[in-house]
Amino acid sequence: MQTVKMVITGPFSAGKTEFIRSISEIDVVSTERKISSEAERVKEATTVAMDFGRITVDEDLVLYLFGTPGQRRFDFMWEILSEGMLGFIVLIDSVRSETFREAKHILEIFRSYAPTPYVVAANKQDLPDAWSPEDLRIALKIDSNVKVLSCVATEKEHVKNVLLELLYSILEGMEEGT
């Protein structure tokens, strides 16, 4: 059996958990908790908020989706996660411009780990204050050969589309490579 992996990254609250939940066939294993009791807060200090989903193609092929950890102090896991990935998706919270710089930073770090294809998903496009994908491309200085896609992570069709566009980019990369 072959397993392949994609990484979903982006700033805190960009919609990574939602994105994986919309498409995964298993309950997303998420360690993120609403902070309520003291006990849970303590627990949060020792566990990583990170998501993990799965799409089975057939008995020989499984795709795993890994969302990057939410807490900054687990950044060291990014490189571990990026190992052997087929491609990655950078989710942007299109309504919170204060997170754009962080998003760009994350994108650059992942690009430095591996020359794998990636796409940028301008998430939360259903909200009235969302920056458009075109504006985001300029604001974040995204290369013209990288797709910036409109996305609503709660909508399965949008999530499918983002994954497909990434897969198409991967195919194109293979053509160039040969």
């Binding site: 397993t3 309950d27 294993v29 990583v48 993990f52 799965r54 193609v57 092929l61 102090r73 087929l86």
Partner: protein, 274 residues
């Protein structure tokens, strides 16, 4: 007068018992098969420890305890230069990076990690030199040996049980269960568990996963056993076991083969159908 011997004849448990009961002060050096461990005691309490090349600087300990990010730790180490651990601790506290409690906990964790490792050493020359103490600039957090000895003995037992449950690590791989049930909802995983999860792949044996993560047999057994109990993973036969898997490569985990076009095409077809 130094105490000298080998763990074959006088175990870690016995040594620590002696140090504790005789309220000894000094340095215990144990020469393991791969690493040398140094433990400092004051009046029968463990106050400082280091192992191998890692000489246990504060920034390292804080990083390992998850109190600093890798970036922060590296920045601090290059900047701190000749600063002592005590000075560095004060600076980090006043800059609001960490609390005093963070520092104490990280130093303790660092020492306990080392001392618990020693319980699994069955041989190695040791020497105890009276009255040698760590340099003054180190942050010494005294730890009572009674609890350490009890926990260490418990771990030896546990480790023997785990070994019965998972005797073979070199020819077994892991894969995710096909139908993880509802128990999986809201499961809380530790950093170590996530590290293991990110290497799960029928090509990697459990041993290789452990090596890639710098874990010893006990640590990986414990994590894998926990994940088996939770129904998250299953044992599997490693793929391509016939071929010699581990080369001289660091970590030993095989690089995945280049993904084929047809694989990407199958993924596309599948996702379109969702």
């Amino acid at each position: 007068m130094a105490l000298k011997g080998n763990l074959r004849d006088f175990s870690t448990t016995q040594l620590l018992n002696l140090v504790n009961l005789a309220r000894k002060t000094g340095l215990l050096v144990i020469q393991g098969q791969t690493d040398t461990a140094r433990l400092y005691f004051r009046e029968g309490k463990l106050i400082h420890a280091n192992i191998g090349n890692a000489d246990g600087h504060l920034a390292d300990m804080l990083l390992k305890a998850g109190k600093l990010s890798a970036e922060q730790a590296q920045m601090i180490q290059t900047r701190a230069g000749m600063q002592s651990d005590k000075q560095l601790g004060l600076a980090l506290m006043s800059a609001g990076y960490v609390t005093q409690e963070d520092i104490v906990q990280s130093v303790k964790k660092h020492m306990l990690d080392i001392v618990y490792t020693l319980f699994s050493w069955n041989q190695g020359d040791f020497q105890f030199d009276q009255n040698l103490l760590p340099s003054d600039d180190r942050i010494a957090v005294p730890i009572n040996l009674e609890n350490v000895i009890m926990e260490g003995s418990r771990r030896i037992q546990e480790s023997e049980q785990l070994q019965d449950e998972l005797p073979d690590l070199t020819s077994v791989a892991l894969r995710f269960t096909d139908n993880p049930d509802a128990r999986l909802r809201n499961v809380n995983l530790s950093v170590e568990e996530w590290r293991v999860i990110s290497f799960i792949n029928p090509r990697n044996t459990i041993k290789q996963i452990a090596q890639s993560n710098g874990m010893d047999d006990f640590q990986i057994r414990k994590i894998v056993y926990g994940m088996l109990q939770a129904g998250l993973v299953e044992l599997a036969r490693p793929e391509g076991m016939a071929a010699p898997a581990v080369g001289g490569r660091r970590g030993g985990v095989e690089k995945p083969p280049a993904v084929k076009r047809s694989v990407v095409e199958r993924l596309i077809t599948r996702i379109k159908r969702i």
